[in-house]
Symmetry: C2
Subunit: 225 residues, 2 copies
């Protein structure tokens, strides 16, 4: 399982990436569908439900690709179950606004991260990831709803801003756990070439871009990052 630094396009790192993304989508589906039940209005419940089913569609695409690559896609996902579940267990929304912000912020960070990585993949894998991450119109619904709630009750903004920071903190902490466990994946993310130490400057730049885009999303919601 722990091979030394391998090139970016080795199956191991790619399989890990697709497997992590697949299990992430399956779990996002399940949690978001459950959070939909917290929505006060039927229209919001339906909108969150629709977002959830889109995530399930992505999961099926990714699992089909994994099955082509490794035969047993579930075994490929297994190593990521603990970290992804831990993230969700520690960020269970207590109301539907928290659920909305979680869906928007969490999907946003995950999409940005996968897009960054996709640039380093072969064209087939890149196309799949780009298709899966194609942003849906649901983002507009989330932004409009959260902004309207803040206008109605400005105190909501402080609580949701804190919540956004907690989401990022928990995501980073689980990402570290995955990085420590899965060397092939980490090598791919860090962009390690055989025999080199990887381009650390580029990694730092990537994390700074991810942070920047997260702040933009929080601002769009009317929140301080």
């Amino acid at each position: 399982m722990s091979e030394p630094a391998s090139p970016p396009s080795t199956p191991e790192g790619l399989v890990d990436l697709l497997a992590l993304l697949a299990y992430g989508e399956l779990t996002a589906f399940s949690r978001l569908a459950a959070d939909a039940d917290l929505a006060p209005a039927l229209s919001a419940k339906a909108a969150l439900g629709r977002l959830a089913t889109i995530e399930y569609g992505h999961f099926e695409l990714l699992r089909a690709r994994l099955a082509e690559l490794v035969g047993d896609p579930d075994a490929a996902m297994e190593p990521f179950v603990a970290a992804v579940d831990a993230y969700h267990d520690r960020t269970a929304p207590t109301d539907w606004l928290e659920g909305l912000v979680k869906a928007y912020v969490g999907d946003g960070i995950a999409s940005d991260f996968y897009r960054e990585i996709a640039a380093r993949l072969d064209p087939a894998a890149r196309d799949l990831i780009t298709e899966v991450l194609h942003t849906s119109a649901t983002a507009d619904f989330v932004v409009a709803t959260v902004r309207a709630e803040i206008e109605r009750d400005p105190r909501v903004a402080g609580r949701l801003a804190l919540w956004g920071r907690r989401l990022v903190g928990e995501a980073l902490s689980q990402a570290q756990r995955v990085a420590a466990d899965r060397e092939g994946l980490t090598a791919m993310v860090v962009g390690v070439q055989a025999g080199t130490g990887g381009d650390l400057t580029e990694v730092v730049a990537m994390f700074s871009r991810l942070t920047e885009r997260h702040s933009e999303r929080m601002q769009r919601l009317g929140l301080t990052a």
Copy 2:
């Protein structure tokens, strides 16, 4: 089967029927997707998730039809929120086997009930309901999984048989609540013709058919009804 100008085809009862079915599907989607998280194996989680997304598709079909009939489909569903939510709150599965049995038994009774009613509707409404209730292959997955679990641990059978009875009891109790609140719907179910007291013999026969089919489903799972 096309009897014109009778209460069965009045908009009120039909709108109620479609609205109840629509909200039932939306809630079934949400609860089932959440229950999927209880599954021990990724394959089971994925299978339950797929079943949930099918229910969401049904919800969208029904809501679109409601929107054609009444303009505001959410307002049409509102009267059924309390009863459907109460059913789910009182039958929250404590493990994934209970979730599987609930999905199978609950969907089965609901499908049989809607099929019974559909016979009294105009062809367009009948076709919609028949399409929505088209049984999926997931039933085979549920039957195989529950039977395998019972083989592995025969004590499971007694607990799940009790669970099946509780599901039916809670469903009946919420159905009574809906029947008392929604006269138009009740009249349609009872088959009241203008100026008559309805065909009570037929209602009794219908409930006996529903019970019979429920017992068959329980037997298919390896359980006593």
